[in-house]
Subunit: 332 residues, 2 copies
């Protein structure tokens, strides 16, 4: 085995809106991370190859033998090369067996396949499978039985049992929020109150408005928020919701509906250990919202993509599996 | 009373996306209708005054004494002049008492106020109140007790009792559909299959895909469609939904969720007589969807805005109330 602190893998977490490159050591720890906005919908003018060289170039020039493994939308039909889905249930070995390998022109690249659930309720994920595999590597106790929530543009709820991702469901919460904020009547008061755009200078979170939205969703019960979404506007019209707080209220409504719906879909079944994994600020919102639903036993993990890439690379023999599990992915 | 066939009122149904002018006779029947795309978000260069003259000019030049009454978003804060909301519950007399009257420069105009429901679940409507009042005038039996569904950009479900609109709820079904079709990942396969735009040449409705979407919403039960919306994409990815059918499936999901949620909000309470009022093709979709939920006793009314304007004008003394109720608003 190589020196445990020496670079052993370049892992690329390559999604729709960003590209994160991790230089991973032989013991699974992350030596360095480079983040670029070059998601597959925001590539530089030179396309995939330029983005790839931009992130891996310096690392590969000193260590041209390093294997490179990518996960996420880069392997989708709209990505660089399509890495065909593997079927659910799946574990690290399933993803390792399904790697797509090709020559980028700057050396070989392997891409982790997405995961497909077939049947009447088909589902797909790309990238989240790697995060989940990383979380299981970081804490093998979770592998026995856990419910993962990975908040985001398309939130995923995934049930893990015996080390395998067994089934999952997608909630378009983040995309719906962005659509309603940017294009609907609901976002207009906030857009007019801050015409420079909230994304340019995000205002402080109005925690009370967020909780009010979550509570509105929680109280909607089996009817859900379909008939309450419009309260984002009518509360404002009635003078009961300031324009500046309306987006946090809307966020609360949508996150609350995701949780209401996700919990309702489980019927009365007891919850397995619940894990939130993803961006810290978003996980905080979900933890807060889950608390309003009475779910307080929640584990929050940070970004586990690098650990997942390492684990899959090891399962595929791209790197020699270290005796130690990745040690740098403690709870966030 | 004037000759019952002679013009007695100009009624303007003036919403966000269109302006319909009705020349109404002294017996309440519609003599002529002019439709223009001059909704308050699509005004001609000369603004409200030009749109107003364009629709009423010819009628007023021969009968400058005709009263003009408008309803809809023209009376909103973003409209020509704001007609303050009246409070729920409200009947024709409430709206008549709340008319906003002003001089357009081309003679006087009265605008029907919107309706506001106060409390923890505030709601607003503008325009739909006039449609409902018109439906009650056309069939007084409905005034006793009815549940109105007015499908559209913002669908309204309104409970009528003893001639008054007692409570109502808004579902943003039409706006959500347009947002998802035009801006989300869900609409992309259809957009790419028909890059000229579906609105330019709407394809034939795929009735089976629409029913499939409604059924998916109906089967979601208390969890609702939050975790199923994404099946619009995953069914397509799995090869189980053609791109050309995906928008009808999405429409079925959203209309189905509106109905699922609206029925769930009533608990087990028996349904009052149910009335659909609005655009014929949209009412057809809702009738079909209601049938999938086992609700088959549905009355479908056409556009009753002119009858509502007439009824409110009569209650306000703008026209002398005829002995007969409006006769030209039979079931569609």
């Amino acid at each position: 085995m190589a020196n445990p602190g020496q670079p052993a893998l370049i892992g690329l977490d390559w999604g729709t809106s960003s590209l994160r490159g991790h230089l991973v050591a032989a013991d699974g720890s992350v030596i360095e991370t480079i983040r670029q906005p070059w998601g597959i919908q925001h590539l530089p003018s030179g396309g995939y190859a330029e983005a790839y060289r931009g992130v891996t170039g310096a690392w590969l020039s000193s260590r041209p033998d390093l294997p490179v493994l990518a996960s996420g939308m880069v392997g989708s039909r709209q990505g660089w090369r399509e890495a065909a889905y593997v079927d659910c249930p799946a574990d690290a070995a399933s993803f390792a067996a399904g790697l797509l390998r090709f020559d980028t022109g700057t050396g070989p690249l392997a891409i982790v396949p997405g995961l497909m659930q077939r049947g009447r309720l088909p589902e797909v994920m790309r990238g989240e499978e790697t995060q989940i595999i990383g979380a299981l590597a970081a804490d093998p106790a979770l592998a026995a039985r856990a419910l993962f929530i990975l908040p985001g543009t398309h939130s995923k709820w995934a049930v893990v049992r015996a080390g395998r991702i067994e089934q999952f469901q997608t909630f378009m919460t983040g995309e719906l929020f962005a659509l309603l904020r940017d294009h609907s009547l609901l976002g207009r008061p906030a857009r007019e109150a801050d015409p420079t755009g909230t994304s340019a200078a995000p205002p402080a979170i109005d925690a009370a408005a967020f909780r009010q939205g979550v509570t509105m969703a929680q109280e909607s019960g089996p009817s859900g928020i379909a008939g309450r979404l419009f309260t984002t506007r009518s509360l404002w019209l009635a003078g009961d919701l300031p324009a500046a707080a309306s987006l946090d209220y809307l966020s609360g409504l949508l996150v609350g509906e995701e949780i209401r719906s996700g919990l309702a879909a489980r019927g009365g079944e007891p919850l397995p250990p619940l894990v939130l994994s993803g961006e810290a600020a978003l996980c905080d919102r979900y933890r807060e919202a889950l608390g309003i639903f009475g779910v307080t036993d929640v584990r929050v993990l940070g970004d586990t993509a690098a650990a997942g890439l390492w684990t899959i690379a090891a399962a595929a023999g791209l790197v020699s599996a270290a005796a130690t599990s990745p040690g740098s992915f403690a709870d966030a």
